[in-house]
């Protein structure tokens, strides 16, 4: 050991002083968990000293510090000590405040503990049970709000008034003992341990000849030693340094000096070290040396003592450990959720890019049956940013179908869905970053009264919606009417945001991604170079070419449609969005569907989003169709369809793909007045909605 060199360098000096390696405290993670439990359930405000237990071990490989270890079982003072380890009795002072921790009288605590050791030495109790020589104090303060634990160990050691002179330098046992003696020592030690019904003996007496070694417990001194000119004592030594014994020897030497000091000339000390490497045991690296014990003062006053542990900086002071990461339930939930998702990657899909999913900011327009199920599936994927927009309150019929709400939420007129959904998400997973907006989405065909106040409100709603869409990466359309999806479709399209749309019939659903128009800057270039198949509208039988792309004869009309040519929810419509609830019978207005449908569609919408995110081209990915084979899937998770249309009556899904309609009321250039500047386009849309609310310009303009 590097720190030992000073000892070797000064070895020529006659009056070399014996130095001891102090204990380093070592705490198992479970100790703090257990202290927390004890504090909460048992000690509470009780600050009185508690008996605890640690242990030390003499079989460490070289290089490890001399440790006194406390496990979670430390609070069970009568519990078993690990095999081949020596116990140490401790006193725990757990204070209620940091201030009490700071101001507690450390000197007095040490003196009190030392006095007990001294009393045990004087009374002879320590001769009968020498393990009580190894004591410790642990002063703690547990800040259970921050999970900060302040602590300070003390390993009391009584001191001689002067230095202990080394008569014979420490040597490795194998340089002093023959192989035969070493074998005899090992056997004698094991015999003694069996006799004492333990697997480790902290202190023992020793006599040896050239062939034999005899050991005896400390209490047998008078019968064991006939000649006390030179005695040999053994100490179970947790230190691994080649020139120094560990801490437990200190109080033994005081005991020897007190009991037999006047009779002893020199004391030979065996630092018994017993390690097993690769299954083979050895004790020959034990240390052996001789010392002359200084005289203790004649009075029976307790000697001076030392023992408070230094902190990592080498100064006298307490330590603090911050365990919020492994104890704060919120932190634990976060790391568990993340690791569980990574498990999926390690197990099944090594190339899965989870960060892309987790970091996606999702805007959920609608917090009803679809919104609730979409949110839950997003959380399952570890998505952190989930924002809700809804203007409804929770009604009595909702909770059974909308898994984020409970009966209580319906009382007193019902809580706002958007707000209640946020609260619930936080309860399910506090790591989520969720916001709710209780607002309406302006719809064409639903005229508002033309009072300045309502117009202004509509204008604010539009602006708010525009802002929200800008701030998110993916927009989910989960409302219960067709027309409310129109404005978000237009805005999200102009901002090039991925739109996931889910809509329910009674036993049918559609889940789709909207075509993602190419960014305005590169539009001309890529459109010109594009040689993909004909862009005829998917819905109309006419072969009107869409956009400016050249029409090329294609083998399959609907295969290999790139993301920027895919249609939106409104592309297949022959009418413009209007009030779908007006002029309908009650059952036509009703949005009743089979209860399982929303869960299926909501889950599929999220899963489709995740697959799209895994595609290198994201929303521009070529649409997969039902005909695509799975042998070369475009992403690690499989296909990236344009639409999933499900028919619950047949328990069947199909994956159609359709082209954007160049006269679409929502996504064609016409609907944004041909402007490429998103801001301008949106503003025009906004103002036209507000100003020409019921004039049906879109119904007239889009389709003509």
């Amino acid at each position: 050991m590097a720190s030992d060199t000073s000892g070797a360098a000064t070895s020529s000096v006659a009056d070399l002083k014996l130095q001891f390696a102090p204990f380093s405290s070592a705490l198992e993670a479970g100790f703090w968990h257990q202290l927390t439990q004890k504090k909460l359930n048992d000690y509470r405000l009780d600050e009185s000293p508690k008996c605890i237990k640690g242990y030390y071990y003499n079989g460490d490989p070289v290089g490890l510090p001399t440790r006194l270890t406390l496990e979670f079982s430390a609070f069970d003072a009568d519990g078993p000590t690990p095999a081949h380890c020596c116990p140490a009795i401790g006193t725990l002072y757990n204070t209620n405040t940091l201030d009490a921790f700071k101001t507690s009288d450390k000197k007095a605590l040490l003196e009190k503990e030392s006095k007990e050791i001294w009393d045990d030495i004087q009374s002879g109790a320590a001769l009968k049970d020498p393990s009580i020589l190894s004591r410790f104090i642990l002063l703690t303060f547990a800040d259970l709000k921050k999970y900060h634990f302040y602590y300070w160990f003390c390993f009391p050691a009584l001191c001689f008034p002067e230095a202990i002179k080394i008569i014979q330098q420490p040597s490795v046992l194998e340089q002093v003992f023959s192989a035969k003696q070493i074998a005899a020592l090992q056997e004698a030690y094991d015999d003694l341990a069996i006799k004492r019904e333990t697997s480790a003996v902290p202190y023992f007496l020793m006599k040896y000849t050239d062939d034999t070694v005899q050991l005896a417990p400390l209490g047998d001194w008078d019968t064991f030693f006939t000649d006390t000119k030179k005695v040999t004592v053994g100490v179970y030594d947790p230190c691994t340094l080649s020139q120094h014994p560990g801490w437990p020897l200190r109080n033994l030497l005081i005991l020897l000096a007190y009991q037999w000091g006047s009779k002893l000339d020199t004391v030979e000390v065996l630092c018994f070290r017993d390690r097993t490497l690769q299954g083979s045991r050895s004790i020959q690296h034990s240390l052996i040396f001789q010392v002359k014990l200084p005289e203790l003062p004649n009075n029976s006053a307790c000697p001076k003592s030392v023992g408070w542990e230094k902190n990592p900086k080498g100064a006298m002071g307490p330590r603090m450990v911050n365990l919020s990461e492994c104890m704060d339930p919120k932190r634990l939930a976060e790391s568990s959720v993340d690791l569980n998702l990574k498990l999926m990657r390690w197990r099944l899909v090594p190339s899965l890019d989870l960060d892309k999913v987790v970091s996606t900011k999702c805007l959920l327009l609608g917090a009803g049956t679809l919104g609730c199920n979409v949110a839950r599936t997003l959380m399952g994927w570890g998505v952190r940013h989930i924002t809700f927009v809804d203007n409804a309150n929770i009604s009595y019929s909702n909770p059974v179908r909308q898994p984020l709400y409970e009966f209580e939420d319906c009382l007193g007129g019902g809580k706002s869905k958007a707000m209640a959904a946020v609260d619930r998400l936080n309860k399910i997973f506090p790591g989520v970053i969720s916001k709710g907006y209780n607002m309406s989405i302006p719809m064409p065909g639903h005229p508002v009264s033309f009072s300045p106040a309502t117009q202004a409100q509509a204008q604010r709603d539009v602006e708010q919606l525009e802002k929200l869409i800008s701030e998110h990466d993916v927009v989910f359309l989960l409302m219960d009417t067709r027309e409310s999806r129109w404005l978000p479709t237009v805005i999200a399209g102009s901002k090039r945001k991925l739109v996931m749309n889910a809509a329910l019939g009674f036993d049918t659903f559609v889940v789709m991604r909207h075509g993602l128009k190419q960014p305005p800057v590169s539009q001309n270039v890529s459109a010109g170079a594009d040689s993909s198949p004909s862009c005829s509208s998917a819905s109309s039988s006419s072969s009107t070419p869409a956009g400016s792309a050249p029409s090329v004869p294609a083998s399959s009309l609907f295969s290999n449609i790139p993301g920027h040519k895919l249609g939106c929810y409104f592309c297949n419509d022959v009418v413009a969005p209007g009030d779908s609830t007006r002029d309908r019978t009650l059952d036509q207005q009703c949005t009743v569907s089979r209860p399982g449908l929303a869960m299926i569609a909501g889950a599929l919408a999220v899963e489709m989003m995740v697959s799209i995110l895994q595609h290198s081209e994201g929303g521009y990915a070529v649409a997969s169709s039902s005909d695509d084979r799975m042998n070369e899937p475009p992403t690690s998770l499989g296909l990236v369809p344009h639409q999933i249309r499900g028919f619950l009556a047949r328990f069947d899904n199909v994956l159609p793909a359709s082209l954007a309609f160049d006269k679409c009321t929502a996504c064609s250039p016409t609907s944004t007045n041909g402007r490429s500047e998103p801001q301008v386009a949106v503003w025009l849309v906004v103002s036209s909605i507000v100003n020409c609310w019921s004039t049906n310009v879109y119904e007239q303009g889009g389709g003509k």
Binding site: K17, E28, K106, N311, M320, E325, R347
Partner: protein, 256 residues
């Protein structure tokens, strides 16, 4: 799936598990390998436990940053970690600022000791999973202060060569889970693949009419043994024929 395959050769029944553990403990005691049986108070339920200490020559936080930026963790958790480090620094300053009148007056009795903060303790628990009918490895690593490391920090304490190999290994399926008996957070080697990789090993042993200790063999599967605790298992592996019992005998313990 694993659950469906009850009765196959690669299963390990709970009684078999306990029996194998007893044999393993006996041999561990001979080899002083440090395994112990920890039982839950007043019950038969328990687990094998072993703690291993290692000196690490690394600065945990800096290595962590490298790991974090490479691929393994999301940027959000890197941020988190840094906050964490920061708050730890600030707070430890708190502990330092507690002035003490205790003097270091040991009259030169105290030997200089090394900075011990770079020692890590690894704790391994082996439990029986009823759902998977296999042993499951739980583990955590912590500093001498008792602070558990994050999984990224654990990885950073593994030699880079090993790290890459292990992280690409399909067997390396680590997740975080509360310890079923202690309720404390542990990392867990997910047992979902255990049956799959045990089957050929056991089949081979049976074909050669060799005795097999299920738990020992499981511990000796390469990717398991290349975990930080590694080498100790090899010792077992080398001598496991001494303690192993014929699989046929063990099968008698099974429920019909």
């Amino acid at each position: 799936m694993t659950q469906v395959s009850t009765g196959s050769e690669a299963d390990c029944m709970e009684e078999t598990f306990h029996h194998c553990c007893q044999l393993l403990l006996q041999q561990s005691e001979q080899l002083r390998d440090g395994w112990s049986w920890e039982s839950v108070q007043g019950s038969q339920v328990g687990y094998l436990k072993k703690t291993v200490l290692r000196s690490v020559d690394i600065n945990l936080s800096s290595v962590w940053d490298q790991v974090g930026s490479s691929s393994d963790s999301g940027s959000h958790s890197v941020c988190h970690q840094q906050q964490q480090e920061k708050s730890a620094l600030v707070a430890s300053y708190d502990a330092d600022s507690i002035k003490e009148d205790i003097t270091d007056d040991d009259g030169g009795f105290c030997a200089v000791s090394k900075d011990s903060r770079k020692v890590l303790q690894y704790e391994y628990h082996i439990l029986y999973s009823c759902s998977y009918s296999t042993p499951v490895l739980y583990f955590r690593a912590f500093t001498l202060e008792g602070r558990s490391l994050s999984l990224e920090e654990v990885w950073s304490s593994v030699h880079p060569n090993f790290r890459i190999r292990l992280q690409n290994s399909p067997l390396n399926t680590i997740t975080q889970q509360e310890h079923p008996l202690l309720g404390q957070p542990f990392f867990m080697l997910h047992p979902c693949k255990t049956e799959e990789f045990m089957r050929p090993v056991l089949q081979l042993a049976q074909d050669q009419n060799r005795p097999v200790n299920y738990v020992l063999t499981w511990l000796s599967v390469p990717s398991l043994t290349q975990q930080p605790q590694a080498k100790l298992m090899l010792q077992f592996f080398a001598s496991h024929s001494q303690v192993a019992v014929p699989m046929r005998k063990l099968k008698k313990c099974r429920a019909p």
